[in-house]
């Protein structure tokens, strides 16, 4: 079931100037309830512009955004509904922390929604758990936390609005491999427990392969690929042409394939790669 859909969305920054970067040129896409969608594309491909349309921060020049089958720009109430229904977490969200305690900061969204004290408290407790921090953190100042912890608190501040769709712009930027994997696990389990839709932008194809059900590839303001992870990653050479990185393992298989070895090219994890190569090697023995 589609919860959020984008229809023929067009948008240009500073029209007519050479700064027309990150424009959208007629994007249509549906997001279904409960799925995790990875969005990839290089800087200036329009992915940030797309994200800011999803919760009504930017108004389309033409085309429409439907949230639960309602055009989000049809009335003031529907924009507001979409703001809270589609939670957008910007890149480096820890830079937006401002309250004196972690509790207050996570409560900022629910407060703006006009919820009751008890409901706010309940949501804060729930959110801090989702991001893998204990309740001890709630009375600390957000500015005393480590970088990774700040990031989690900031994400909790969006989750606390209980959005049906959670949109994250490069949630793992700047984290080390462990921090990165932990955060991706949290996103995955949040998605499983709440059955909410998660849309996340990443430069890292390995991250996308790890948790996404579906992948969107943006290039020059258009969606050029839209499919499951194996579907998109099997087009490794096309991705490379678009100036995107492909997972390291895929690159190995592309290299082997190019060199004339009969191996598949839709491989993107080490374990799968090992299996495919063993298969190939055994076949070689049989033929030889």
């Amino acid at each position: 079931m589609s919860v959020l859909s984008v229809k023929n969305l067009e948008y240009a920054y500073s029209k007519g100037t050479p700064f027309q970067i990150g424009a959208l040129k007629g994007v249509s896409v549906d997001f279904n309830l409960g799925e995790i969608v990875g969005v990839i594309g290089h800087t200036g491909s329009g992915k940030s512009t797309l994200l800011q349309h999803l919760n009504g921060l930017l108004k389309p020049e033409s085309g429409e955004i439907l949230f639960e089958d309602e055009n989000i720009w049809s009335s003031k109430e529907s924009v507001r509904k979409c703001r809270f229904g589609v939670g957008l977490c910007f890149q480096y969200p820890e830079h937006q922390l401002f309250e004196s305690t972690v509790f207050e900061d996570i409560a900022f969204g629910p407060k703006n929604m006009g919820l009751s004290e008890s409901e706010i408290k309940e949501r804060v407790l729930e959110s801090i758990k989702f991001v893998g921090l204990t309740e001890d953190y709630l009375n600390k100042s957000p500015f005393d936390l480590s970088g990774g912890e700040k990031r989690r608190v900031a994400i909790a501040g969006v989750i606390s609005m209980k959005p049906k769709v959670l949109v994250l712009d490069e949630p793992t930027a700047g984290l080390d491999p462990v921090g990165k994997n932990d955060l991706l696990d949290l996103i995955k389990s949040y998605n499983k427990t709440t059955n909410s839709t998660v849309i996340f932008v990443s430069h890292n194809m390995d991250d996308v392969a790890l948790i996404a059900d579906r992948v969107l590839v943006l290039n020059d303001g258009n969606i050029v690929m839209n499919g499951t992870v194996p579907e998109v990653y099997s087009k490794g050479s096309e991705l490379l042409k678009l100036g995107l990185d492909v997972p390291e393992i895929t690159r190995v298989f592309l290299k082997l394939h190019e060199a004339g070895f009969d191996v598949p090219t839709d491989v993107y994890t080490v374990s799968d790669g090992k299996e495919k190569l063993l298969e190939f090697l055994k076949r070689g023995k049989m033929n030889g």
Binding site: D176, G179, I249
Partner: protein
């Protein structure tokens, strides 16, 4: 090779923290080497970088850069003339409103004559491939371009060594590639000593030497293929290894030995060919 930076039993503690970030560290860096320092966030790798050019002073022990004790304040300028530094956030290290003026900032501070500055600035910008942007405003550049301007700023000071503290952490893949190829040119064309602090494994692949930091001490130190052969240990301290190597090691378990020097996909192809 000549020893240019020397850490002797160095410990370091931030005044507002309880524990040592750097713990009795003894390590040397050599002239002309490209060393990559790896470690997870909080492993002490950035702190170590800042000890090299006297932004941090050791709480105990001694750091010597180009023969100068970093704890002696009088040596500060002489050390920084030899060791340039590039930081993580590209926005917060560019001073001037025009690219070439920013590159000129260091030499100007050193009192270099104007004609000489002009020459150095042009050369530095050419090496990092930013010469065409010399009259641009920094805030209109991409992250990768800004970092290359910062690198040019160090080159123009004619430092012998450049320390980069996670210069690619905030960049997209394209920016990361630009910065890495600029660094490779510094090494091949200028023979500069490079110390790159990072948590991206793939950046360590082309280094001469890889140092892995954990909890303020050196855990591994050797060539990339030596260090990365400790796959399991590296994973335990929160680092990954290049995927081609991981795949090769998995195949080795099944009886297909591709060797341990498989750091890139090209190396993998080579080894795979000779296996068959």
């Amino acid at each position: 090779m000549e020893k240019i930076i020397e850490f002797k039993n160095v410990s370091f503690k931030y005044s507002d923290e309880e524990f040592d970030v750097i713990n009795d560290l003894t390590i040397d860096f050599y002239e002309g080497q490209f060393t990559c320092v790896l470690g997870h966030n909080g492993s002490g790798k950035s702190t170590m970088a800042k000890l090299i050019n006297a932004i941090n002073y050791p709480t105990s022990g001694k750091v010597t850069s180009f023969g100068f004790d970093t704890s002696n304040e009088e040596n500060e300028i002489r050390i920084r003339q030899n060791v340039g530094m590039v930081f993580q956030n590209p926005d917060n290290q560019i001073v001037a409103t025009i690219v070439e003026d920013d590159v000129a900032f260091g030499p100007e501070n050193l009192g270099v004559p104007p004609e000489e500055i002009r020459k150095r600035v042009d050369e530095a910008l050419k090496i990092v491939d930013m010469y065409d942007y010399r009259l641009h405003e920094p805030h209109k550049l991409s992250g990768g371009q800004k970092q290359r301007v910062a690198i040019a700023g160090a080159i123009a000071m004619q430092t012998k060594c450049i320390v980069l503290d996670e210069p690619t952490a905030m960049l997209d893949p394209k920016g990361r590639k630009e910065v890495m190829s600029a660094l490779m040119r510094l090494k091949s064309e200028l023979g500069m000593t490079i110390i790159l602090v990072t948590h991206f494994m793939d950046e360590a692949v082309n280094a001469d030497r890889v140092v892995v930091m954990n909890d303020g001490v050196v855990q591994f130190d050797g060539t990339p293929s030596e260090v990365f052969s400790h796959t399991e240990d590296l994973k335990k301290i929160g680092l990954s290894v290049p995927k081609p190597l991981e795949l090769a090691l998995e195949l080795k378990k099944e009886g297909y030995d591709l060797g341990t020097k498989i750091l890139t996909e090209d190396a993998f192809l080579e080894a795979f060919r000779s296996l068959i």
